[in-house]
């Protein structure tokens, strides 16, 4: 079957495909299977699911549309892509919702049989977009997906409704033809998933092939197909990973490396819940997970666990971070290691739970009563979450401080190709644990370099001590209301966090060390920044990128880097939080800002336009 192609095969550097359907149409699965086929073909890729906040919003309406976008390529892929080259729309509503995300001239594949009066009305179409000229600028493939799906399995004796549930596999078959994919990974999935039901394995395989054969017979599709050559990734073992899974695994890695058992106290909250779910699975690695009664219990149980000697973590999103505020102050005062993962979403308040934003930065930095400095890190991509979750654990335990790790809904739910690291290649983690009967031990005696106190774990002979939220006397740790002691302790806690800068990697720059414009970004916008800056550099512009993972403290060479560029712009998915922080810290520089707060990621094009505008400014 694969050999019957008579058509021209065009090689592409990279392609963006978007699958869109009703919440129940199985678009996430379709996207996942398409991603796996891309992996088998050796492509680099990144994906992003776009689903509604409701579990099953009214069928057929725009609010119930679920989407999955994949960007794959022969070249290195950094984001799930701006606009789609191909949109697969299973019904009218997904078409309506997603048309704005398709490139002009792009291909749209629709199931024509779902474009009836009733569903058009539900989707809010007055006229049929397939016939009223709405789609004249696109290459539209009208496929009778429903009836061909049914037909392919009519002799199997399966229930029609059941067969139609696999309509998504017909669409996947079409895409397999267009991009010259192998069936193997999808077949393996069917065989494993439906092991108990051979008929369903057969029906899915047939429907997938029916879609493939259909594409082969339609001239609009079969005349040209596309091939994306394997990416030039370095040798090694790879997997696909989402940011939330990578975060959970990075935490487990920090636990194993430090020899401290992992404790997670957490409460379900979108889009951070997968971290709680994932860690609940891995009890064989000794991870203890408490699904707490609320966000406060989540962090406070973690502080208790940390006191008792665990590598303690709590995971949440913005509203949960607000609730944890007071307890973070307790961890600051008791100087216990704890990692707080905040998977940011659009706020304020409940905001837009499934949409991404970078608007918790100031809350992470400053949202506590009193002088309560904490270390703040930000992961930059789905796979990078692994390394910064690990780093958060390392800093927390070695410096005895709370660390807030910022992720966001976009990288948390998105996935990308992840080169599997070896545990032996990760840096050591050495918590300052006190030995039994250490006569020198005092609860607030500090390491002279790092200024951290030590970790004296209950159950150890000779180290009984008491800590708490009241101000501590330096060294002894006794309760103290002495004015000078309070000033000293505030300064010590601040200096301890500041000195973390002496133990982190210096800030790196993508591009030349000096130039006309420095793009300064942080967190989950890394992929789009690098693509935009690359585009500028390819056009001969003297533009570089400094993308920050360490927010507090900032790397020691930050100021020096800023000084080497004529202009600096800080694009963020908020109204200007990092730029405010940079202005506070580096008053001699002028920072341009570019802000977007729509619950959507930046697009390469809008960034390039903005960068050019600043370069051209007199």
């Amino acid at each position: 079957m694969m050999t019957t192609k008579r058509h021209k095969v065009v090689e592409l550097e990279n392609v963006v495909v978007r699958f869109a359907g009703d919440s129940g149409d199985g678009m996430q699965l379709t996207g996942t299977l398409f991603s796996e086929a891309a992996a088998v073909a050796g492509n680099d890729f990144a994906t992003f699911p776009d689903y509604p906040a409701e579990i099953r919003a009214p069928q057929g309406t725009v609010s119930g549309v679920s989407g999955f976008q994949i960007h794959f390529g022969h070249k290195e892929i950094f984001t799930s892509g701006d606009l789609a080259d191909v949109l697969v729309a299973m019904n009218p509503a997904p078409l309506k919702k997603n048309l704005m995300w398709v490139k002009k001239g792009g291909t749209i594949i629709v199931d024509t049989e779902t474009f009836n009066d009733k569903s058009l009305e539900k989707a809010g179409y007055k006229n049929n977009p397939l016939t009223d000229g709405t789609l004249t600028e696109y290459n539209v493939i009208k496929a009778p997906i429903s009836s061909l799906t049914k037909k392919s399995c009519e002799d199997l004796g399966l229930d029609i409704k059941m067969i139609l549930k696999s309509r998504n596999m017909f669409a996947l078959g079409i895409m397999f033809f267009v991009f010259n994919r192998e069936f193997s990974s999808a077949d393996e999935y069917f065989e494993k998933k439906f092991m108990a039901n051979p008929l369903v394995i057969e029906s899915n395989k047939r429907i997938l092939r029916a879609g493939y054969n259909f594409a082969d017979t339609i001239e609009a599709l079969s005349s040209i197909t596309y091939k994306v050559e394997p990416a030039k990734l370095s040798k090694g073992k790879y997997r696909n990973i989402t940011g939330n899974i990578a975060t959970a695994w990075g935490l487990l890695a920090a636990s194993e490396k430090s020899g401290r058992k992992l404790f997670l106290g957490s409460y379900p909250i979108t889009p951070a819940t997968e971290i709680l779910q994932e860690l609940s699975i891995h009890k064989s690695l000794g991870a203890k997970v408490l699904q707490a009664e609320d966000e406060i219990a989540g962090i406070v149980s973690s502080i208790g666990a940390s006191f008792a000697g665990a590598f303690a973590v709590t995971s949440t999103s913005g509203p949960g971070l607000s609730l944890k505020t007071e307890a973070i102050g307790l961890a600051v005062m008791t100087e216990l290691p704890i990692v707080i993962v905040d998977v940011q979403r659009a706020g304020p308040s409940t905001g837009m739970p499934t949409k991404s934003e970078q608007s918790d930065l100031l809350q992470a930095l400053f949202g506590r009563n009193g002088e309560a400095p904490v270390v703040v890190l930000a992961a930059s991509s789905s796979s990078n979450c692994f390394y910064y979750a690990y780093e958060a654990g390392k800093i927390a335990m070695e410096h005895m401080t709370p660390v807030i790790l910022l992720s966001d809904g976009y990288i948390a739910n998105g996935s990308e190709v992840f080169k599997i690291p070896k545990m032996t290649d990760l840096p050591p983690i050495k918590p300052p644990i006190v030995e039994a009967e250490d006569l020198i031990y005092r609860p607030y005696l500090r390491n002279p370099e790092k200024l951290n106190r030590s970790w004296a774990i209950p159950g150890t002979l000779g180290l009984r001590h008491r800590i708490g939220g009241l101000e501590k006397e330096n060294i002894s740790g006794n309760v103290s209301h002495d004015p000078e002691n309070h000033q000293l302790m505030c300064e010590l806690r601040a200096e301890k966090v500041k000195r973390v800068a002496n133990y982190i990697e210096p800030q790196t720059i993508f591009g030349p060390d000096s130039g006309d414009l420095l793009v300064v970004s942080w967190g989950g916008t890394y992929g789009v920044m690098i693509e935009a800056v690359k585009e500028m550099q390819d056009a001969g512009k003297k533009v570089s990128l400094a993308h920050f993972h360490y927010i507090n403290p900032l790397p020691n060479n930050t100021e020096e880097i800023f000084g080497r560029f004529k202009r600096i712009i800080v694009p963020e998915l908020n109204l200007g939080q990092f730029v405010l922080y940079l202005r506070m810290n580096f008053q001699k520089f002028r920072f341009y800002q570019y802000n977007k707060i729509q619950g959507l990621p930046f697009m390469v094009k809008e960034l390039v336009d903005k960068f050019n505008e600043i370069l051209e400014e007199k």
Partner: protein, 341 residues
């Protein structure tokens, strides 16, 4: 092992007495509670480094500073999750949580009921003085309806919680009540609570000498205590009164006070206390009894065996460690769908 036993059996009150100045008001009920606790700790047969005392905020919550153990003075209302995190992490630790009516029933109400529901093996001492002392005299969730306080100058318009009823309703496996002016009673109950596997809650009727003096006088004073206290012992009939001539019977669906020898009532007609009874009906009714119609019950009202959260969690972890092929993070990283380039 012999060393360990030796070490434990020779412990005394002094081994647990901290060098910090006790700063409760003179005459406060807390002093007596602390003294009883320090006496009980050596009797529990635990290594001194395995005891952890945890608290929230309030007068009661200064307690950890005055006990020479590992201690954690937390934030308001959050002693329960703090204690939970400690116990789950290391089930070998012997965790005591010290709290009050404001700390656990108002700001920490949510954590309190969930601690009881999860049945972690944590011992809770709730000092109930029916007032906010540390903030100087506002009403609490246990303040009697109509009581005038700084924030209820015309009298409270709230229905108070009954601690026992709330705790048993939250699936508590152990509930006891003591009074702060009877050290022997407190010690006996603390010892039993310390040995119960599961969350043990002791409500201590404690006097706030400054903001609600004599709050429990009708139960604790010399003049009234015999008539108004009923100390429960498992398997024994419920008898009280100066002359030991009164008792409790179940009449229809409610409890009633009777006089032995009157109307043909004999000791045999009285309710026999059953703290091990899983059905909490009678226990809740007992916990709710109050003067003037009834005495207040003291002693261990409920003590039922059930699995603890941390023991089940450790069982699951052990079994997963044995059966799950993922033994290391390297195994995890290489599990599922991977490919080579």
């Amino acid at each position: 092992m012999a060393d360990v036993i030796q070490e434990i059996t020779t412990l005394t009150k002094e081994d647990f007495t901290s060098d910090q100045m006790v700063k409760w008001c003179p005459g406060c009920g807390d002093h007596a509670i602390l003294s009883s606790f320090l006496k009980v700790l050596p009797e529990l047969g635990i290594r001194k480094q395995d005891v952890v005392v945890v608290s929230g905020i309030g007068c009661s919550s200064r307690f950890p500073y005055y006990v020479k153990t590992y201690g954690f003075h937390g934030i308001h209302g959050r002693a329960a999750p703090l204690a939970s995190g400690i116990k789950i992490t290391n089930p070998n630790l012997h965790v005591w949580m010290i709290t009050g009516d404001g700390d656990s029933l108002a700001i920490g109400g949510n954590h309190f009921i969930h601690l009881l529901r999860r049945n972690l093996d944590i011992n809770v001492m709730l000092f109930n003085n029916k007032i906010y002392g540390l903030t100087k005299g506002q009403y609490s969730p246990t303040t009697p309806a109509g009581k005038k306080t700084k924030t209820s100058p015309q009298g409270t318009i709230e229905h108070p919680f009954n601690v026992g009823e709330l705790a048993i309703g939250a699936q508590g496996t152990f509930f006891a009540r003591a009074v702060d002016n009877n050290p022997k009673m407190m010690s006996e109950i603390m010892l039993e609570a310390g040995r119960h596997k599961g969350t043990s809650l002791i409500e201590i009727l404690q006097n706030c000498v400054i903001f609600y003096n004599n709050v429990h006088a009708d139960v604790t004073s010399k003049e009234t205590k015999d008539e108004n206290q009923l100390f429960l012992r498992h398997g024994e009939p419920m008898i009280f009164g100066k002359e030991n001539d009164k008792g409790i019977i179940l009449k229809g669906t409610h409890l009633e006070v009777v006089r032995i020898g009157e109307n043909g009532i004999t000791e045999k007609d009285l309710l026999i206390h059953d703290k091990y009874q899983r059905d909490p009906g009678i226990q809740v009714m007992l916990a709710k009894m109050a003067p003037p119609a009834f005495p207040v019950v003291l002693g261990v009202i409920r003590s039922v065996a059930d699995f603890t959260y941390e023991s089940r969690m450790d069982q699951i972890i052990l079994s997963e460690m044995e059966t799950n092929p993922i033994k290391t993070v390297d195994d995890l990283l290489n599990s599922g769908k991977t490919w080579d380039i």
